[in-house]
Amino acid sequence: MRVLIPSPLLSYTRVREVAASGTTMAELLADLDRQFPGIRHRMIDEQDQVRPHMRIFVNGEQSFDLDQALASSDVVQIIQALSGG
C-alpha cells in the first residue's frame, strides 16, 4: 500500500511516498522498518505506543491502534508535528 512519509523522516526514505505491505498496522510498520531500518523507532515508543509528536492516518482517519487491519488499497499517511514558521 501507499505510505506518505513526513519531512522529518525523509532522511530514512529519501522519497515522500513509499510502498509497504502488511495486514495490520504493526505488520506495515515492521515492513517499513525492514526497508528503512530505524524508522519504526521514530514513530513508536518502547511501549508500542505511537509517539506523541507523530500521528498516523489511514485513508485520512486517525489511527492509534497497531492491531488495526489494513488492506492493500489503503493509503497511510504519517505526520510529525512541525514547528517552522
Partner: protein
C-alpha cells in the same frame, strides 16, 4: 405616458446629495429588499421594500407634503413607488435616477446599517479600495465593516506572518497586532516578504508595521516587540478576536494553544518544514486543540528548526495565505473552516491531503486531563 395623469419626477443623485448637504428636509425611502439595504444604503434612509410601501408609508410619513426621495438599485422600482405615493396624495415625490448604483458610482458617501440600527460609515476612498469585496454577496458592505472592526493577532512576523499580515492588511482588517522580538536578517528575506533589504537590522515589528501601513493606512498596526511567555500570553491574546499562529518553535505553539483555549479565541495554525506544510483551525469548545493532536513536542534532536532543516521560500507563502483566508472567513462567518481537519500540503508532489483530527477526551489542555497539570 399618455392617458396617465401621474407623471413621475426623477431627481439626479447630485441633486439629492446637494439637498442632504444643505439640510433641506428630505425623507429618503429605500424601496429595495432588506438584504440589499443591509449591504449598503444612504445615511438615514428608511427601509421600506416596495411591497410594503402602500401599507406603511402613511404611518412613517404622515404629512403628505413632506419631500420624499425614493430610491432602489437602478431607479425602476423607485419610479413605480413614486407613482404609488403620488396616487396616494403625496405632493413632493421623486425617484432617484440611476438608483443606489449611480449614487455609489458618483462617489457619494454611503453607510452600512448595523443590526442595532446605527450606521457604520465607509468613506468613498474605502468604497473604492474594497470595491472587489463589496461586489461579493458573501462580503458586501456589512462584511467589509466587520473586517474593518476586526482585531487579529499575528504571532510571528516571519515566513508565515509575512504573507498573512500583508493580505490581512490589504483586506482591511482594522487592527493587526504583531508579536515578534527578532530583528530582520539577510537570511530571512528568501521568504519573509513583509521585510525588505533596507530593513535589515530593524526590529521585525517595526519593519512589518511600516510595510503594512504603507499598503493600507486604514489598518492600525500594534507592535508587540516581545517574546510570548506564560506570564504575558493571556494579556496579549485577550485583546484580539482571532489568533494566527505563525511562530517558529514548539514552546510558543503550546503557549498560544493554552492561552487561546482559556480565552475561548480561535487559533489559525500553520507549521512548515522543507517542502511540507500543515494547516488547521483550533476553535475551542468541543473541537480538538493542538494538544489533542500532538500531546507533546518531539525531542529536540528530532525537531530541527527551519534554520537547520531548510525551507522552500515560497512554502510559508502558500500556508500563510491560507491562514489569512481562514481568518477572513471566520471573521465574516462564511464557508466551512478547517476545525477538526488538518490540511497537509506537499509542494514537491503538489498535493493537498485532508486528515480528520480527533478530540482527546483526556487532553491535558481541553479535556478531563486539564487541571491535573
Amino acid at each position: 405616458m399618455p392617458g396617465n395623469s401621474v407623471v413621475i419626477q426623477e431627481i439626479e443623485v447630485a441633486e439629492v446629495a446637494a439637498r442632504l448637504q444643505s439640510g433641506q428636509r428630505t425623507v429618503l425611502v429605500d424601496v429595495r429588499d432588506p438584504d440589499e439595504h443591509e449591504s449598503g444604503c444612504l445615511a438615514g434612509a428608511l427601509l421600506l421594500p416596495r411591497a410594503l410601501v402602500a401599507r406603511s408609508i402613511e404611518t412613517l410619513v404622515p404629512d403628505k407634503d413632506t419631500p420624499v426621495v425614493a430610491y432602489c438599485a437602478v431607479g425602476i422600482r423607485s419610479a413605480m413607488t413614486a407613482m404609488t405615493l403620488m396616487a396616494m396624495g403625496y405632493t413632493q415625490v421623486w425617484s432617484m435616477r440611476g438608483g443606489f448604483d449611480e449614487w455609489q458610482r458618483s462617489g457619494h458617501a454611503w453607510v452600512v446599517p448595523s443590526p442595532d440600527g446605527e450606521a457604520a460609515p465607509l468613506g468613498t476612498e474605502q468604497a473604492t479600495r474594497y470595491a472587489r469585496h463589496l461586489r461579493l454577496p458573501e462580503i458586501g458592505m456589512a462584511g467589509q465593516a466587520k473586517l474593518l472592526a476586526a482585531r487579529v493577532l499575528c504571532i510571528g512576523a516571519g515566513g508565515l506572518g509575512s504573507p498573512t499580515s500583508l493580505y490581512l492588511a490589504a483586506a482591511g482588517i482594522g487592527t493587526l497586532g504583531i508579536v515578534d522580538d527578532d530583528r530582520v536578517e539577510l537570511g530571512n528575506l528568501q521568504r519573509q516578504i513583509v521585510h525588505t533589504t533596507a530593513s535589515i537590522g530593524m526590529p521585525k515589528v517595526d519593519s512589518a508595521a511600516g510595510m503594512l501601513s504603507a499598503l493600507n493606512p486604514d489598518v492600525r498596526v500594534t507592535r508587540i516587540r516581545t517574546r510570548l511567555t506564560a506570564e504575558n500570553a493571556l494579556a496579549i491574546l485577550a485583546d484580539y478576536d482571532v489568533i494566527i499562529d505563525g511562530s517558529d518553535n514548539f514552546a510558543t505553539r503550546y503557549l498560544v494553544n493554552d492561552a487561546a483555549l482559556r480565552l475561548g479565541k480561535p487559533v489559525i495554525h500553520a507549521a512548515i518544514q522543507g517542502f511540507e506544510g500543515q494547516l488547521t483551525v483550533f476553535a475551542a469548545a468541543g473541537a480538538p486543540c493542538y494538544r489533542c493532536v500532538f500531546p507533546d513536542p518531539p525531542p529536540a534532536e528530532f525537531a530541527p528548526s527551519c534554520r537547520e532543516a531548510g525551507v522552500l521560500g515560497v512554502l510559508p507563502g502558500v500556508l500563510g495565505v491560507l491562514q489569512a483566508t481562514e481568518a477572513i472567513k471566520l471573521i465574516l462567518g462564511i464557508g466551512d473552516n478547517l476545525v477538526g481537519r488538518l490540511l497537509s500540503y506537499d509542494a514537491l508532489s503538489m498535493r493537498f491531503t485532508e486528515l480528520g483530527l480527533r478530540r482527546d477526551p483526556e487532553c491535558p489542555a481541553c479535556g478531563s486531563g486539564s487541571g491535573k497539570k
